[in-house]
Symmetry: C2
Subunit: 346 residues, 2 copies
């Protein structure tokens, strides 16, 4: 493996090196990297902006997160926020802080992932910053989306009687993380033991390479459904339900047996003696969409395998509840992933 | 001094605590903090986006940089990039990574500075992220500006014969930094020695609390001047001239005796046995505007004390030169501040 030191390049040359082959694909991207700012010509009448910062040792561990996946995921999680507004992402800026322990080749790998995600979702990388860090790796992404005002969906529009829908399946990413953490610990104790992850590819991919649900946003558009409320599931289903309930002034009831969980998630959860429903409720990093639609839209979604109806919106006074398989009704708790508390517990 | 630990709050509550009093002032800010993304209604037909990441130990040292100033500066340097496009900043997002060594009160101070800069430039804080960091403090700001397409000024429009202008004065921020670094070293050796910075307030303020040149952008608009090229001076005059020259395919000639340098900068440079012209050329962090205008606009700027004409644009083949006080013509070198190399030297 070749290793080119960062200081052989210097900041300007590194940025030029990393961005020289970028071709802007969106007609709304008038100017990308290379000036004081990027210039964007809004496709539609409104622009949405979201940003996320990922820090080494907190949000990712390079021991099991390949740099290319990390780059992909850093962009993907921001696009997910744009889709959660029912908008179309078109541009991202990416700032990276990195220390000299990274080589130019390592950063190229990170960029490969960033650009692959941009390519897959037809988004342009239009700006950013690459700076020296005294210690760990930091990635900060801002995503810009475009939308018609009438299409934008907020967290605060859920109405009593709405059906609560989720896309895809939940809990897989969290169980994938548990698996990766365990294999890393085994490997650290005895590097001769190679991890056997066969048959677990799905949940690992869900953790390492999440895909934002562009398809769901397009499907809703096709079926002429504008959800009353929508949010992406980054901190666990329970936490996101609380956001919708608080912002909309409503309650909700969801059914344990309706929560979509893949067999592989069940299997690994069982191995870890962990409840798969708990992984879905509190695990996070699913990057699926959670949305509410009026009952009148039921016929339009009922046969779609990618959308599951898991419950309905109730009056605020009824609170938030989970109805278990045996019919017991238990209050939901928002135990979403919290970086500050997590550090404390460790 | 009260000290509230970050983990007493948790991530969601901290963000709510810090952002609860924010009032959106711009009518283009439809939705701020609190959903998956902010929603913006462009004021004019184009949107510009710029982002910068500041890392502890690389871009700032908390030993002499008060948190409030740091917050102010983090926003200010991004607004400067928006003004450098001849656009009006309207929104910022701010992501902060911080470790448990910071208290809630410390972060409140940082936010005070962020919000003060927003207030001073009538910009809305519409989003961001507050996450746990394993080590140092990281701040990543994205600024959104609005502009008419015909007003946007790039780096690539400079034309032979153009007058080269700079706003304000140069080199002060760099000398302020030298002074702060020296006083910190003295203090670390003997904490009983209190730094005496009287009479040096100007250059220290230039380093700790730079002001982006909104006034110059408005003045140009008032005088109906659209510069052919513009950039803000963050890495030193020489480096920025190289950017304009490279992007525009031109050369330039500037005159040593025309470079605006404040007496206090001269004085401190002398104390440090440092050339003030070198501080202006290579020091950086001035956040003044460097722009080129056609000669026909000369009458409109010649009497303005905040704008100095320092030279003119030449043919590309003539290269980039500085004419010294004694009439000697020496080639300019771009030795701009480079985080990767700087680390190497230390």
């Amino acid at each position: 493996m070749e290793r080119t030191e960062l200081n052989e390049f210097g900041e300007f040359k590194l940025i030029k090196h990393l961005t020289q082959n970028i071709k802007l694909k969106q007609k709304s991207s008038l100017l990308g990297v290379g000036d004081d700012a990027a210039v964007i010509s809004p496709d539609m009448d409104k622009v949405v902006v979201t940003t996320d910062m990922l820090l080494e040792g907190v949000h990712f561990n390079l021991a099991y997160m390949p740099l290319k996946h990390l780059g992909y995921k850093a962009v993907a999680v921001n696009l997910s926020d744009v889709y959660a507004m029912n908008a179309e992402p078109r541009q991202v800026t990416v700032s990276i802080g990195l220390s000299n322990r990274f080589s130019v080749e390592a950063i190229e790998e990170l960029y490969e992932g960033i650009l692959l995600c941009c390519e897959n979702y037809q988004v342009d990388l239009v700006g950013g910053d690459t700076v020296s860090s005294a210690s760990g790796l930091v990635i900060s992404v801002t995503a810009i989306g475009h939308a018609k005002e009438s299409d934008i969906v907020y967290r605060n529009g859920a109405k009593e009687g709405d059906l609560i829908c989720v896309s895809g399946d939940l809990g897989a990413s969290f169980m994938g993380l548990q698996l990766l953490e365990r294999e890393r610990a085994v490997f650290e104790e005895d590097p001769k033991i190679q991890p056997d992850l066969s048959g677990k590819e799905y949940i690992i991919e869900r953790q390492l390479k999440p895909e934002p649900r562009a398809d769901i946003v397009r499907l809703l558009k096709e079926k002429k459904i504008v959800p009353n409320a929508m949010i992406d599931i980054s901190d666990g289903l329970a936490s996101e339900l609380f956001h919708i309930a608080e912002n909309s002034g409503v309650g909700c009831k969801i059914y344990e047996d309706k929560i979509p969980i893949e067999p592989q998630t069940d299997l690994v959860a069982d191995e870890f003696k962990f409840s798969p429903v708990s992984a879905a409720l509190n695990g996070g990093e699913d990057y699926e969409l959670l949305f509410t639609i009026p009952q009148s839209a039921y016929e339009k979604v009922k046969d779609n395998t990618e959308i599951k109806i898991i419950g309905h919106i109730t009056a605020e006074s009824e609170g938030l509840h989970l109805v278990t398989r045996v019919g017991e009704q238990i209050p939901l708790k928002a135990q979403g992933w919290d970086a500050f508390r997590k550090k404390e517990e460790e």
